[in-house]
Symmetry: C2
Subunit: 199 residues, 2 copies
């Protein structure tokens, strides 16, 4: 029972911290604000995390673990073709942007520029998370090629890296411009990169 | 004479501030650190800028003005073809990364995720700067198409936006991975997007 509560508190701090970081960034999120919002005492925070940096690493780890699960579910279950799954992943971000008028939900978009110069431990954790996403993208590309639902040239891992870069940059452009156009242009480009086979 | 010195002090604060922001981010750059590094008193700072945010806007304005001049010089002078100029622009970043092992020199890469949620004035200034870069890219694409040094499909402005997103994202990936590979993969992709005409 105690262990269960302990786990909940740690999870709760991480979830609240992620919400705050998504808006304020990591440096901009004061520890006192986090404790106040999460309604936990300082001692409790330091019971779970030895420092703000250690908290940051755990937050990233949790974020990418959840993202991995969601992507696996999205890409590799269901009956649609790999191409359809891939395009739906893009359309999902576009829909969310249209609903909320902002990019949210991705710590890579929000924190990559900031934390890479700030903490080597956080950079390493983030890099592992992004490498995992790119690997999953490569896997779905390769599978799509095998099932003949999409065509692309060259190595799946390289292509996946390019697709990831493009989407990351387009997300930032959407943030800057408060417009969905960069996301839509990127998606149109992706459709040509992973062409549908001629019927 | 006084006006000249005034201009120099303002310029000096902006230049030092940009250097600090490039490493620490905007929130992470304390005003006291800026004043100490620039060796100017607080009163002097507030003589030129009514707030840290106003300083941020002026810093972005100055950054993109210099960038516009450099890009104009790079893209539209000299004897090489537009395709060569474009690819040289990419290679320049790759060379700098290989020399310094890091991405530096671009406030869009470093600050976009941070300042867009922080300050509407800074977001607007940054968006204007990025729109200017994309317009220049579109102009060089269009000119290259006319001089038959490169081939691409569709609208130059849309293509320029896609190229910018891809490069922005690849720069962040290079930051995260401390590896040049994402930049190189992006450049290889760009070469296929702006194909050389068959001889």
């Amino acid at each position: 029972m105690t262990r269960h509560t302990e786990h909940d508190t740690r999870e709760h701090i991480l979830a609240i911290g992620e919400q705050l970081c998504m808006h304020r960034g990591f440096t901009g999120m004061g520890l006192s604000e986090l404790l106040k919002t999460a309604q936990v005492p300082k001692g409790s925070f330091y019971h779970y995390f030895r420092s703000k940096e250690a908290f940051g690493v755990a937050m990233l780890h949790r974020h990418y673990a959840a993202y991995e699960q969601a992507l696996n579910q999205h890409f590799f279950s269901g009956q649609s073709s790999c191409r359809t799954h891939l395009l739906a992943w893009y359309l999902n971000t576009i829909e969310q942007f249209n609903q909320h008028g902002t990019i949210s939900g991705c710590l890579t978009v929000k924190l990559s520029a900031e934390v890479c110069d700030l903490s080597e431990d956080m950079r390493t954790e983030m890099n592992a998370g992004v490498s995992m996403i790119i690997s999953l993208l490569a896997r779905v590309l390769e599978q799509g090629r095998q099932q003949n639902s999409l065509i692309f040239t060259g190595d799946a891992a390289v292509q996946a890296q390019v697709l990831y870069s493009l989407w990351l940059g387009a997300n930032l452009q959407a943030k800057m411009s408060r417009s969905v156009i960069a996301l839509e242009s990127a998606l149109e480009h992706v459709k040509t990169v992973i062409a549908a086979p001629a019927v």
